[in-house]
């Protein structure tokens, strides 16, 4: 059964149609990549799925439940976390406070402590800097914090928007290693990336977006060898 299923979704910004009736699905345990150029609508799709934007038409189902009109703050507690583009950590709060906000929907303190330990284990640098203000972290550390914060809600699926954006190559590799670890830990991943090569290298399947439409879909391996994808997105 698909964990997340989007059917004929259309999204408008005013009169401009950003998403032109797309459908895709994510199965449990998969790593799915949405790739495409700037402005293709990748971020809009994630914002619509997590409820920050309401679609004009179409249906979004999460574990069989219709969440098309569910407000964003309720979707989190259903088990969907979203690492937004540009990280959007709370700069004026400490690393620890950011992580605690990630667990905002959880009430069991002991479980939360367990998750916090797990997050610190995965991101030792966050533990070293737990009392530092998030705004003073480097870009890569902020990305780790954004991911750690999302993991604090103990999600079944995690949506990641351009996690490699603006990071040095070393950090990019580290972040992608972590995404694979998260996936291996049993969390389903929906990854939006401009760095198509990297994204395809860790994804099971991928969807290629062009100005609000899905133009290509298939196993990540096949897309990697596909001539048109290579030309358009992999820079070969």
């Amino acid at each position: 059964m698909s964990m997340l299923k989007v059917t004929d979704m259309e999204v408008y910004y005013g009169v401009i149609q950003a998403i032109k009736g797309i459908s895709f699905e994510v199965n449990e345990g998969e790593v799915i990549a949405l790739i495409g150029a700037n402005g293709a609508g990748k971020t809009t799709i994630l914002h619509t799925v997590t409820g920050l934007i309401e679609p004009k038409a179409g249906k979004i189902e999460f574990e069989g439940k219709d969440i098309t009109k569910t407000p964003a703050h309720k979707i989190v507690s259903m088990g969907m976390a979203h690492v937004p583009e540009g990280r959007r950590v709370f700069a004026q709060l400490s690393v620890y406070e950011n992580l605690k906000l990630g667990a905002y929907t959880r009430s069991d303190k002991n479980e939360m402590e367990e998750t916090l330990k797990m997050v610190y284990k995965r991101f030792p640098r966050l533990e070293e800097r737990k009392n530092q203000l998030a705004g003073t972290l480097s870009g890569g550390e902020q990305q780790m914090l954004a991911m750690g914060r999302a993991l604090m809600s103990h999600p079944k699926i995690i949506l990641m928007d351009e996690p490699s954006m603006g990071l040095s190559p070393i950090f990019v590799n580290e972040i992608f290693d972590i995404i694979q670890e998260v996936s291996a830990g049993g969390t389903t991943v929906l990854l939006v990336e401009q760095n198509a090569k990297k994204a395809l290298s860790i994804a099971d399947r991928a969807y290629v977006l062009e100005t609000g439409n899905i133009v290509l879909t298939g196993a990540a391996k096949d897309l990697m060898n596909d001539e048109s994808t290579k030309k358009a997105y992999l820079g070969e």
């Binding site: 409820g51 964003a72 989190v76 959007r88 709060l93 906000l101 929907t105």
Partner: protein
């Protein structure tokens, strides 16, 4: 010795400004709007206490409690009815609506209570403090006002460390990201209005106890000055509201005492203009960081 007593009076008036400024500042920080009706909530708070004590002979402390409850509810209702439908409207529309709500409250009070000033009986029963052999007298109102302000500041600072407090800080920084954490933004904004308006009721009682004349316009000038205090200290900042309020109160009382009581307001607002020219974000204002 008179300087010291002016200074203490200034701190007392400044404490009231600080409590009002907190409401302005918190609402601005979280809802990103200037609630110009905030000053009139103070006046409503005063009238609730006045009516309860004079008409029904209610115990003053109970009356204050009632006034806090009424103003808290009023604040939440104002937000829900007047501001929430404009959540995605232009800031100018919200600002004009806030001014409209301010006039509405004033005129409703005018209809209900008339324009004649009511003489407000102080609810403070604390005896005055005689210091330095009677040379320095600190009134009970002054003591209660300063202590209330300190208690409120301490309580609020502690509240900000709790879960709803952290949610407030998250919403004030980034509404979208806060929603992604599971924070209900509307509920958080309601809570902010509730706290700000409850504090306005307390400020109203303290103000009317110190300056016992109550009219439908009682809240408007202190409201504007508290807004100045909030901007002065750095709008959006809780310690900024305290510092801004205290400085403003002291400037006002000292200029009344030593320069001219007619010019004191001009001096207060003149200082604001200078501060804004030199440091537009206020004393403790945060730098607005560019988003990457």
């Amino acid at each position: 010795m008179s300087f010291l007593s002016y200074l203490i009076n200034g701190i007392s008036l400044g404490s009231v400004y600080a409590i009002i400024a907190l409401g302005y500042s918190m609402v601005y920080g979280i809802a990103k709007m200037l609630n110009f009706a905030h000053g009139d909530v103070i006046m409503i708070g005063g009238f609730v206490v006045f009516t309860a004590t004079s008409a029904t002979g209610m115990n003053p402390l109970l009356a204050v409690l009632l006034s806090v409850v009424v103003c808290t509810v009023l604040g939440v209702v104002i937000e829900k009815v007047a501001y929430r439908p404009l959540r995605n409207a232009s800031p100018l529309a919200v600002l004009i609506t806030a001014i409209g709500v301010s006039y509405l409250l004033q005129n409703v009070a005018l209809l209900m209570f008339g324009a004649n000033p009511k003489s407000f009986t102080s609810v403070v029963k604390v005896p005055a403090l005689n210091l330095v052999g009677g040379d320095l007298i600190i009134s009970g109102e002054t003591i209660v006002t300063i202590v209330s302000c300190l208690v409120i500041m301490a309580a609020l600072s502690m509240f900000m460390k709790t879960k709803p407090g952290q949610a407030m800080l998250a919403v004030s920084e980034d509404k979208g990201a806060a929603q992604l954490m599971g924070v209900n933004v509307n509920a958080t904004i309601s809570l902010t209005f509730a706290i700000g308006s409850g504090l306005a009721a307390i400020a109203g009682v303290l103000l009317c106890s110190a300056y016992p004349s109550l009219t439908p316009y009682t809240g408007s000038m202190p409201g504007i000055k508290a807004f100045v205090a909030a901007v002065f200290g750095g709008i959006g900042s809780i310690p900024g509201a305290l510092i801004g309020g205290l400085i403003l109160g002291v400037i006002e009382i000292l200029s009344k005492a030593y320069i001219s009581s007619q010019l004191s307001d001009a001096i207060v607002f003149g200082v604001l203009i200078i501060v804004l020219l030199v440091k537009p974000t206020g004393i403790l204002g945060k730098k607005i960081s560019e988003k990457v």
